[in-house]
Every structure is written in C-alpha cells, then in structure tokens.
Symmetry: C2
Amino acid sequence: MHTTTRIAEVDRATELAGDAFAATVGASDDTRAGWLRAIADALDAHVDDLVALADGETALGAARLTGEVARTTGQLRLFAAVLADGGYLEAIIDHAAPGRPDLRRMLRPLGPVAVYAASNFPFAFSVAGGDTASALAVGCPVVVKAHPGHPETSRRTAALVTEALAAAGAPVGAFGLVEGFEAGLALIDHPAITAAAFTGSVAGGRALFDRAAARPAPIPFFGELGSINPVVVTEAADAVRGAELAAGLAASFQLGVGQFCTKPGLVFVPEGSVLEAALPAQVGRAPHRLLTEAIARGFRAGLEHLAGVPGAALVAGTVSEPAAGPEPLVYAVDLATFTDPAFTATLTTEVFGPVTLLVRYPDAATLVGALAALEGSLTATVHAEPDEDVTALSAVLADRVGRLLFGGWPTGVAVTWSQQHGGPWPATTSQHTSVGATAVRRFQRPIVYQDAPEAVLPAALREDNPLGIPRRVDGVQVR
Amino acid sequence: MHTTTRIAEVDRATELAGDAFAATVGASDDTRAGWLRAIADALDAHVDDLVALADGETALGAARLTGEVARTTGQLRLFAAVLADGGYLEAIIDHAAPGRPDLRRMLRPLGPVAVYAASNFPFAFSVAGGDTASALAVGCPVVVKAHPGHPETSRRTAALVTEALAAAGAPVGAFGLVEGFEAGLALIDHPAITAAAFTGSVAGGRALFDRAAARPAPIPFFGELGSINPVVVTEAADAVRGAELAAGLAASFQLGVGQFCTKPGLVFVPEGSVLEAALPAQVGRAPHRLLTEAIARGFRAGLEHLAGVPGAALVAGTVSEPAAGPEPLVYAVDLATFTDPAFTATLTTEVFGPVTLLVRYPDAATLVGALAALEGSLTATVHAEPDEDVTALSAVLADRVGRLLFGGWPTGVAVTWSQQHGGPWPATTSQHTSVGATAVRRFQRPIVYQDAPEAVLPAALREDNPLGIPRRVDGVQVR
C-alpha cells in the first residue's frame, strides 16, 4: 500500500477515535466491561484460526500460541473485573469544612491512545493485548499500529475486535488498526492522540519517545524497551543445586527462541561453578527460526559484540549459520572484565535471541559492589539457600528493577492485580506497569470537582456511592 | 558567584543526594514523618524572620506571607499523615495459586529529585514547598534550584530545613540548595537525578522538559506551567447576580497582583452582561509591584498582544507605566473574534499579572461549541443557577482541566487528600497533582517481590501486615 494512503488511514482512524472519545468517556463501567468480554469471547471462539495464522507468520508453535490466546482473553476479563471493583478510579472525597470547599477527585480517561504492537507476542502484546485492553477498559479509544512481523494475524484479530465491539454497542472509532512504518510516525504526531504505549527495542522505543516528547503538546509515552534481567546465583545455591539451576536457566533463556523481554541475559555465578559445568548439556538446537529477519540480523550483530570482548569464552553452543534455527549460545566472562568500563556497556546490552552471558565472580562482597554497574531491568532474580542473608544483595537489585524474584526464572509474567512489568530506564520509560491490573493507570488522569451539584457528578463521586466502590472520605478509606 | 563554582555545587549536592538515597529509601514511615514535622516546626518557629525577608524580596505583604508559611507547614504535616496511613504505598498481595507465584507489589521512591522553585509562592511552592515535602515524604532526597526572585528567603529557609533534618537524624544530602540559571541546567542533566518538579512559565518549563527528555536516560519531568483558567457565567447567573460575580472576579484576578497560576484569565459572559457593566467599579490600583522585573516585562508584552487583537476593548483600568504597581486591566472581545483561528492562540495565552479577558457570547449553544478551542488548564469554573442543566458545559470543560469548580473562584487551592492541581498540556506535563496528598505518586515507582522470603520483604508487604496499612489481598481491598 502507498505511504500516502497509509497516512490517510492514520488521520481517519485517529479522527474517528477522537469522535468516539465523547462516547467512551461517558460509558459506564458495566458497559466497558461488556466490550472487553465481547472481545475475549470473539477471540476464544476463533482460537484455531488465529493460532494457525500466527504460527505461519511467527513460527512460535501451536501450543505456545494457543496458550497465548488464553492469556490474552484472560487479561481482557481481568480488566473487566478491575472495572467492577472500582478501586481503579481512586475516588477521594473531602467534604466542605471551614475555609475549604467540597472536593471530589477521581481518575478519568486521557483520550485516544496509540498502541505499538510487539513482534514476540502476536496476541498478548499485540492488537488485542494488554495495552489495548487497559486503554479500552478505562474509556480510551485505541489506534493500534500493527507489527509487520505478523500482518495477517493482526488484521484478523482487528476484524474480530471491530466486529465484537460493534455488536456490543461500542462507538465507531473506539478501535482502529494502521500499518506501516510511516503510519507509525504519523500516529505519534497526531494531535488527537493523548498517550502512547509501546513494546519493542530500545532504539525503536527511544525514537518514538523522542517524537512524543517533541510534539507541540507533548504526550506520555509508555515504552517497554530492553532488559538484561540479571540473575545472581550464590555460592551456596550453586553448591547445593548447580545442575538443577543449569537446567532451569537453559529452559528460560531458550524459551521462545530467546525472544522474551524477560529472558535472563546476564547470570552471575561463582568462579568454577557447578552451573557452568552443567550448562552445555542443557543447550540444544532451537526448535524454529527467529521471528523476523530484522531480529535475526540484530541477534548476529549482538553476538559479534559479545564475542569481541577480550576473554569472552563460548561455553555452550557453536556459532553457525543455521538453516532451520539459530544455535543457542552461552558466553562467559570474569567479573573483572564485566566491571571494566570499556566493556560494561557491551556486556549489559540486551541481545534479543537465544544467548545468555555468565559472569564469574570471585566472592559475594565483590559481586554486590559490581552490581552497581547495572542499569534498569524489568526483573532480577536471586538464587540463594534459605539460611543465607540476601538483604544487601536484594537492596542493590531493588534499586534497579521492577520485579525481584527469589527462586524461579523471570520468563513468564503472571497477569494479576499486583504484577509489575516495568523498571527503570532502559527497561521502560514509565512509572507504571504494562501487565496486570494497575496497567490502566497509564491512561488516566485525575480531575477534582469543587462544590459540584449532584446532577453533574459522575456516579463514582455521588454522596450515596451508587456504584459501591472503595473511596477515601475525609481522609479515611471506606468501602 | 562564578558559574563554575555553582556547577560544582550542583555536582556536590547531587552526589550527596545520591549517597543519601541509600538511607532515605530504607528509613521507616515514622522516621520520614518525623523529618517533615521537624521542618514544619522549624519554619513555624521562625515565621516572623521568614516573612520579613520574603516581604522585602517579593512585596507580597506580611498578611499573605504569614498565611503562606502556615499553608506550607500544614502541607508538611499533611504528608506526615499520609505516611502514617500507608495507603500511598499501594500495596497489593496475590498469594501463590496453581501455576502462579506469590507476588507482592508496593511503591518505592525513585531516587534524588530536582525541585525548581516558583517565583510567586516564596514558601508554598519554593524551598520547603509541596514538591520538596512530597519527595522527602516518600524517601527521595531533594536538590532545590532556588528562584532568583527571593534568594535570601530561599537561603534562610534552606538553612532551617538543613538544620531541622540534621537534628532529626536525616542523612547528609537528603536536602540541598543550588542557585543560578546554569546550575538549574546542570541539575536536570545530572545522571543521579531521577525526576524533576517545576512550577513556572510555559517557556521555562518546556525548556527543562525538553532537556529531561533528551538525557541519555530520560527522567520524568513534572511541570506546572501556564493556565488560562476559563470561567463561564450563564445568562441566568448573570441576570440574578452579575454585580456580585463582578466583585468576585475582580477580587480573584487581582489577588497577589494577578500572579497566581489559578488566576481566572478568560471569562465567558453573555453579551451586554451585568457583570461587565459592574466590573470597572471593582478594579483598583494594585497594592504593590510585580514580583520581578522579568514578570513585569512579560506582563507588558502580554498586554500589547491582547491590545493588538482587532476589536479588543479595554473595559476597566488604563494602561500606564505606574511607579508603585501595575494598573489592573480588563479587556473584552466578542466570541467571533475569540474563535477566529487568527486570534485564538493570542487570546488563550496566559498573561501573568493583573489582567483578565471577557469573551462576550451570544447564546449558550454557540458558547459550548466555542469552548472546544480551549487547551488544557489547571481549572475551569461554572457560574450557573441551581435549576440550570450544565451537563454539556461540564463535559466539555472536564475534558480540558484538572479542577472543575461550580461557583467560587479558582484562586486558592486547598491542601487536602483529594486536591488536584494539574491539567492537560500546557497546564502541566503530568498525570498527577502538585498539591494535595496524591502529589507523592510523582516520585514513586512500583516494585513487585516474587516468592520473597519474609526476611527480605519490606514491612508493608509482610504477611501479618505489621504497619496495619490498607492493602489489596487476592483481589480484595482489606484494612
């Protein structure tokens, strides 16, 4: 399709979204919850078609993709439950007092939201994924920029979403899809767009972030970018269960051919670890190709950077040009190399694909000091024995991440009320999560009504609390 | 002082703040509440000195300044109460379930915060004002960039804050003060700074916002910039109490010599209104000069822009070059001029100082359509009679502001749990407030602990809830 046509589509979708906002901002929680459930039902009803399309485009396999559709529809239904609860409105009422008016505050939707779909989750972080679901949930129309890695899956999903929303009575323009690189730029620039959400690379996210900030009227940009996801294995944990940890690490870093933003990319192990010795036996050929040729190019470039660091040893896998899929790889360096300012940036840059880096540390105290070199990540993981004191280790990691795991592996992000998927730069550009119930806060802003007549007040703020939602009244939380 | 010395001071204050964070992030709520109360007590104990200094530098008058110190110390004590409540931590616990780990989420401080003080509130939005109080409250060290309009007041306040914090056991570096334009730029660029808060002009705020966004690691910039604060007077309200409204408007737009970010700068009145006829008698000479020569220059330039719009009529006051204080002024235009794209931008640009603009509308329906031309503001105000339906009017204004008043005037911002001081661009760059209890959210980010041992968990997330704070547990809010 011609670029001019695609930019005309951005204008059309975005203007329709602007018009739709007048209806979505006023729709009740029940109504919007109905929209989300209608989308979920439509996707579930067409799961086989969707999975077949997506497997053809991404090679991620039917089992994984079927699970991902379920995760996506479960996510839509969780946001419907969030609306029913009403806590997401953060309602606060201060009755009039001497010298002070009656003030009633709640959150309201920002307006039309641009969503940039990811390559690696063709459902859960794509057209009807968490960003779309959380924006629609709170009453923001959504215009999705499709990811070029799965265009047919995107179009089919969009058609199902559009049909389901229409049948559920949502306004025209509540949802739209645009395609193409230039369309993505036009979308972030469009005056009617009030916020953007993005999942992808640091370079792509930074380019859109810069553009969002440079607008005549800047808008918030919620980018989930890159993450190295450090893992620390203590000497005691390695001694007790190094082989088991090797198996867990191998499974986690190879999952989805290493194409997870939560892939453990940096693993601190004791020098001479059981884990390192056991790892090669756990690393096998990838079951399928990388998602796109661009990702494959990036993977090869990342490997060259890693291999170019003096002393970087290949401890599992062999570098090759495979026909069917990339060879999963494990490199290792010493802590002294890691902390050398000449190499730290290279060694802490995410390489998207099936590779991880072991960093061999001489002792725990030296390790904790070295962790200060880490930038922000989505996650950090500690493997320790129950009787160890990991307070200092936890404190230094908590400063740098959004999710701190004790045991387990960071791949796999449960969609719950408390989940936090987001961390300090460069992991995200956000003080919020893109997964879990509180993801809706990205697309809301507060408003306070001063001395408003009951007839004007939204239901959430009326004196008799007709919605029965949790509120803070005169300083005290009540339900 | 030389610029190089001042920039060295930025490095020193910011590095101390970075070091202090290790202590402030771990300090208990009780401890930090004690710091805030110690600052409040110190300011209250020196109110006479502080007011005398500030009156000499700002000419705002002892009565107003004494009230402002009380507001400032009340604000510090409100944040201490917010900490005691614990709701600000937004604690959420999801116990482990089949296929899902134990997840415990709370908010934690970002790190060192840069605060840019305002000219027009030498206490409440300056060295120990709301930005400093809310950042310190949640455990963020603060480096304040003093406003050049009241340097001695800033230094004296900073000395009191520093002394009070030291006596209360806060770490060195929890608070610092820097001065000078170049120091302000160096501060926003410093890698240890994790967020910034600003109250001031659109131009100044935009320059700092752009710089915060352009950093290698971008940081959130919470700017409270300009606001026109539209007011709508219905035909019925004008007929019933136009003269009373004229008196209220005159008092509000002249308050503090028009130097409030909530000054009503744009007032929609019926053609031939009682209000307009009654207004000239209410407008008198300003009691004192504008805050700074820069503000006086901006005021004169703004008046020239207004007076240059064809048909703009001066309806109260006379343009002069007063020796003691500026002449408060009221201009008026017709709605057709206001909606003319050639003039809307000029007529909706804030002029900081004692001037307001009446826009005469022919009928209510035409007015509601014209309000779509408004950009974001901190506030909007509706003056209507009790039996009028103001639903449509309220809806169009609610899309554009953070505080919507029914009756009353926007100057005066109560410091409460529910207050919202912030609105869509250009009013702020934020989805948060800079006044009221929820202002703390600007300086926090979420973290979730996965399968963490009790010994590592912060008190807020321990199973037995030792702090007794409100939490959401397995989807249900409990206290």
